[in-house]
């Protein structure tokens, strides 16, 4: 269990992490999601006591990181690939870490085999590819067989086989009852691995919700209709008490109606249809909409769909409210 309480980090005038309170629970994969520059890495560095918070605190199983005796046995972290000395072999890089926390040397070979680096254990780590460096970092995180594991963007640089492997590894570790905290800027990646989601934007908590609730709330399904007799179609729908929203490209979007019923209604009035399709908003879109007001670096040529909607923190309030009701003393909306 990791508890963040009012965690805040300022760099000069810039607020990187803003009053972040949440809990990361055992037995599941918790996704830590946010656009680039949202403060994910800063938050993770503060969790490991590498960066000092401006205010607020982090507790690991009720203790401050600095109070942990042999911390690698409690929490393992992959922060960035290649945070190792390139002139040292993979084995020796891990051996230094193992010795500092009195972890037996036999465990070093074991974790190297586990991540598939057994064959290159004696090779200098500077010759490693990004993916191999990532695996070495994961091996370092697993070294102390910790109950809590933190991974910062673990799929970066991994090939498809490696991505598949890390996903299964995280799920297996969570199934053993461990606390898994993994950051990503890709909603699609999280949808495949995470059981719970913590979303931040510009350092603020936007959502703290279960993955199932997030999907339920955000995977809006609707029917899209296009007709050369657009006006008549609108009138017919209106007459049947169906609300249709006009889209920019001359189509209509209808929520909460079956495409079969709509097709039969149009046929009954002799209206020609050029399109009748069932649509589902992607989770990626829902995530982008949620964080749009909080994205640090917008691309200059924005397309129509990516305009910042006037939502901002209101989106998050709903989920944080739900989480708060569940745990009793969960986070309050910003």
């Amino acid at each position: 269990m990791i508890e963040l309480d009012g965690l805040t980090k300022r760099f000069g005038n810039k607020v990187a992490v803003d009053d972040l309170s949440c809990r990361v629970r055992p037995g599941m994969v918790t996704g830590f999601l946010g656009p680039n520059g949202a403060g994910k890495s800063t938050t993770m560095r503060m969790m490991l006591d590498l960066d000092n918070p401006t205010s607020g605190s982090v507790r690991i199983d009720g203790k401050h990181y600095r109070e942990l005796r042999e911390p690698l046995k409690h929490i393992g972290a992959l922060l960035e690939a290649k945070a190792m000395h390139g002139g040292r072999s993979a084995y020796n890089n891990l051996l230094c870490l193992a010795q500092s926390n009195r972890i037996p040397a036999s465990r070093v070979s074991h974790v190297l085999d586990m991540v598939g680096l057994g064959a290159v254990a004696k090779k200098k780590s500077k010759g490693f590819s990004l993916g191999m460096g990532q695996r070495l970092g994961i091996a370092a995180a697993l070294l102390g067989d910790p109950e809590i594991l933190m991974f910062d963007e673990p799929v970066n640089g991994l090939d498809p086989e490696g991505i598949h492997w890390i996903r299964n590894l995280m799920k297996a570790l969570a199934a053993e009852g461990r606390t898994i905290f993994v950051s990503s800027h890709l909603m699609s990646e999280m949808a495949l691995t995470a059981d719970h989601l913590i979303v931040i934007g510009q350092g603020r908590l936007l959502a703290d919700t279960s993955m199932a609730d997030f999907i339920h709330e955000n995977s809006r399904s609707f029917v899209r209709m296009r007709s050369p007799q657009q006006e008549r179609l609108r009138d017919v729908l209106h007459g049947a008490g169906i609300v249709a929203a006009e889209t920019g490209d001359g189509a209509l979007e209808i929520d909460g109606a079956a495409p079969e019923a709509l097709g039969e209604l149009a046929a009954g009035h002799g209206i020609v249809l050029h399109e009748l399709s069932s649509q589902r908003a992607s989770l990626e879109e829902a995530f982008m909409q949620m964080t749009a007001g909080a994205v640090e670096y917008h691309a200059h040529s924005e397309r129509e769909g990516a305009q910042p909607p006037p939502v901002g923190p209101h989106w998050g309030d709903r989920w944080t409210g739900q989480a708060g009701a569940g745990s009793g003393d969960g986070p309050k909306g910003a």
Binding site: N52, P71, K82, M84, G87, S100
Partner: protein, 259 residues
């Protein structure tokens, strides 16, 4: 609180598993010994051509440490790399996650590396002394002569302290390149030049290398060098103060700054 012996063990593994340790320490030994021996052989051959003032203050022990001017630079590189590569490789985050007590981490590292530098420094200084005395022939001295053992032992301590001073500076600057960029020209040029400039002399004699190297002189003001207002132990004391200041500075930076 991680156990100190575990951290010392870990730091020893770090030091012995990188190539830079071997080549910097071997360079320190070879350069110091070779240069001391060459100069001893040269002075033996040309002793009669020396100015009278230098003949009067001829200090065969100090002559054998002539190579220290260059050899100490290798010790600087060793000290800087021991601390600096933690930052340049990004290893510092991994290291501090494993040992979050920053004082234990830094001082264990410096204790292990400093002890190794001291051992290599002592080996260097005894070897260069005996080899140079053999080459100086009739102008040489004996380890049993007054103050000679102090000077030879002091030469080894001097090399160890130079390395530890460099570790402290690298911990303050958190960068190998920046630390080398400042320390190398300082010890090789600035300190040497300023100690020859009349106005700057009185300040330069309190620099760590100037003050510390007094311990290697058997005769006060050996080889007609600049007279100093402190003795050999006083000079070494001044150097130790510099080292302590660098270590405190390095510790404060590591404790306060984000990794």
């Amino acid at each position: 609180m991680a156990s100190v012996s575990a951290v010392l063990n870990s730091e020893w593994t770090k030091i012995r598993t990188v190539a830079s340790t071997t080549w910097t320490l071997i360079s320190a030994f070879v350069v110091t010994v070779a240069m001391g021996a060459a100069l001893s052989a040269l002075l033996n051959a040309q002793f009669d051509d020396l100015p009278a003032a230098e003949q009067a203050t001829f200090d065969p022990t100090f002559v054998s440490f002539s190579g220290m001017v260059l050899g100490q630079l290798a010790m600087v590189v060793f000290g800087v790399l021991v601390v600096g590569t933690e930052y340049s490789s990004g290893m510092i985050r991994t290291s501090l996650a494993a040992v979050p007590q920053r004082g234990s981490f830094l001082f264990s590292k410096i204790a292990v590396a400093g002890a190794l530098a001291l051992v290599v420094g002592l080996a260097t200084s005894f070897v260069t002394f005996f080899l140079s005395q053999a080459l100086l022939g009739e102008h040489g001295t004996d380890i049993g002569a007054e103050n000679v053992l102090r000077a030879v032992f002091g030469g080894g301590v001097y090399m160890g302290l130079i390395a530890v001073f460099s570790m402290g500076v690298a911990a303050m600057l958190r960068s190998s390149m920046l630390s080398l960029g400042i320390l190398m020209p300082f010890f090789f040029l600035v300190s040497q030049i300023l100690s020859a400039v009349p106005g700057a002399k009185s300040v330069a004699r309190y620099f760590p290398d100037r003050a510390g190297s007094k311990i290697m002189q058997v005769l006060p003001d050996a080889m007609n060098s600049d007279p100093a207002p402190y003795g050999p132990w006083g000079g070494l004391g001044i150097m130790v103060l510099w080292v302590v200041a660098a270590l405190i500075g390095g510790y404060l930076v590591l404790r306060k700054r984000d990794a």
